[in-house]
Symmetry: C2
Amino acid sequence: MAHEVASIPGDGIGPEVIDAAQPVFDDVSDRFGFELELTRYDWGSERYLESGSMMPDDGLAELAGYDAILLGAVGHPDVPDHVTLNNLLLPIRKGFDQAVCKRPAILFDGVESPLEGYDGGDIDFVVYRENTEGEYADVGGQEHPGHDHEVAVQSAVFTRTGTERIVRAAFEAATEREGRVTSITKSNAQAHSMVFWDRIVEDVSAEYPDVTVERLLVDAASMDFIRRPEEFDVVVASNLFGDILTDIGAIITGSMGLAPSANVNVTGEYPSMFEPVHGSAPDIVGDGVANPLATILSAAMLFDHLGESEAGDAVWTAVTDQLADPDAPRTPDLGGTATTARVVEDLRTRI
Amino acid sequence: MAHEVASIPGDGIGPEVIDAAQPVFDDVSDRFGFELELTRYDWGSERYLESGSMMPDDGLAELAGYDAILLGAVGHPDVPDHVTLNNLLLPIRKGFDQAVCKRPAILFDGVESPLEGYDGGDIDFVVYRENTEGEYADVGGQEHPGHDHEVAVQSAVFTRTGTERIVRAAFEAATEREGRVTSITKSNAQAHSMVFWDRIVEDVSAEYPDVTVERLLVDAASMDFIRRPEEFDVVVASNLFGDILTDIGAIITGSMGLAPSANVNVTGEYPSMFEPVHGSAPDIVGDGVANPLATILSAAMLFDHLGESEAGDAVWTAVTDQLADPDAPRTPDLGGTATTARVVEDLRTRI
Ligand SMILES: CC(C)[C@H](C(=O)O)[C@@H](O)C(=O)O
Ligand SMILES: CC(C)[C@H](C(=O)O)[C@@H](O)C(=O)O
């Protein structure tokens, strides 16, 4: 049976890391005996600069038939951020109802944390980020432009459906892990939305008597990710809080170049999307030194999602081995001097 | 001339740190020849638990006549956060139009950062946080409670007045420092509010041709505070982003116990408020080991604000000296075993 995957390399280093991952796809599909068909879409900012749109009008319809989507990166120095994101990445997350964004934060053996006293294995948690609504709702506007009494409003929208499903996904995950959920709020300052969030967490937690729940304010959590990251198991957060916390999670575990993510449509009605947490990194584009591992780990999550968990495990293990090997090549973000290609070449020998 | 200051110790360790700071007030007013009259208000959660309100109905009117306010901490395990905050701290910030929240992040000599490779003196920036509106606006609500289609809305409100004055304050500050402003946004996901914010930053920056401006997304900034904190000078952020970033700023500079803040009413129409960034710390209440230095540094900012900058400098220098002295007593948050009282006793010999 062939799995059909749409690949959207996107901007900046996106194409470099997607191309680098390609041979890994070939290797695992060979080894584990399944077919994987990647179809490439050259959507993104270059397309926007040429034609005025990031993707075709029927882009979502085009993607809808795939089993999964692999995305590189989106973002370009010559295109405003709200254009790039609101016309490609966010429409896919929202349009395909990819409600659950799963982002592991693992300090792998052999990787250095910027936090003093933390070694490989010391940090291992996962953030479940709400991915379709909340503070990213496209609700609001500006009034009286240019006048003294000008005002801009941006409304965060939390539905029961949206909130319940991310919270439930986090509790489910906790039952497979250490049984601890930390719910991130800002109930002291955002009583309309966050007190609602707290209530849903309380309701759902009643269904999971064996899972312990901690409530933590987002400002305190940002500190605690630095002060006591070893204590977290499953962290559940709104779209914005999850965005901020997963970037902190990536940096404390050594490099943005290692952080994978899955944007999961929980009903299976639409394809899920897998992407590295890092951005398009315009500063290193074309140097051939982008770290391919975040994309490759994202691919491992994609294999799992397709039911090819042996393949997913094999890739994950190969990356773990490579990072633990002091003689293995590393890209500059990890303190090495190796190219993207060299890292992939070495990785293939480990699969 | 006597300066009249209202002191609100508040909850948890609030009274411990405020009481500890008292002798320092006496010392500097003696030494620099001014009178300082502190009036204490026992407002807070204990009052709420007894009487159902955090402060009297005419609390703001009572405070309005003072030259400044010194606050300890607010927050209590038996009172919901949105009650404690929305009925004491936030009404003061908003009611007295304390638009500019100034929070220095300094890694003092002799203090250890949790970030590997950072020594005293390596980090020195200040965050200018909008303090009266934005994501903390009390606008929103919940609809269809308990039903499947329940929804909660929380609206962030940015006015031109509110945004311009915080941005301008940041640019002003930069002219007295290294001439660099970093503006924190999330324009890629919050186009209604943050694109407006960006526009104001652009407008104001035109008035300050000698100040350089960097725009940074809040998720990237959270990482960069860990990855390259030495590069920041003045950071300007919305209420929520400033809240999160100043907690990160506090932790990377060694301890929440050292982070002071000023909530400034820029017109002088109302009193400004000075408070440590840390909270009520229920876990250590009554142990007598709370770090008094964040409060004492906040008092130094208060002296400056009252025009007693010699006194402010003297306190700031005494704290700097104490921290740099390896034999000086330290509270447990700084790795020592000293009590609050011992730290203050030692500090007084340095003023
Ligand atoms: C690019 C941006 C819109 C996106 C987000 O905020 O979700 C990114 O930061 C991420 O974390 O995937
Ligand atoms: C207690 C809370 C409402 C407050 C805030 O979010 O402003 C605190 O975290 C702070 O930073 O002063």
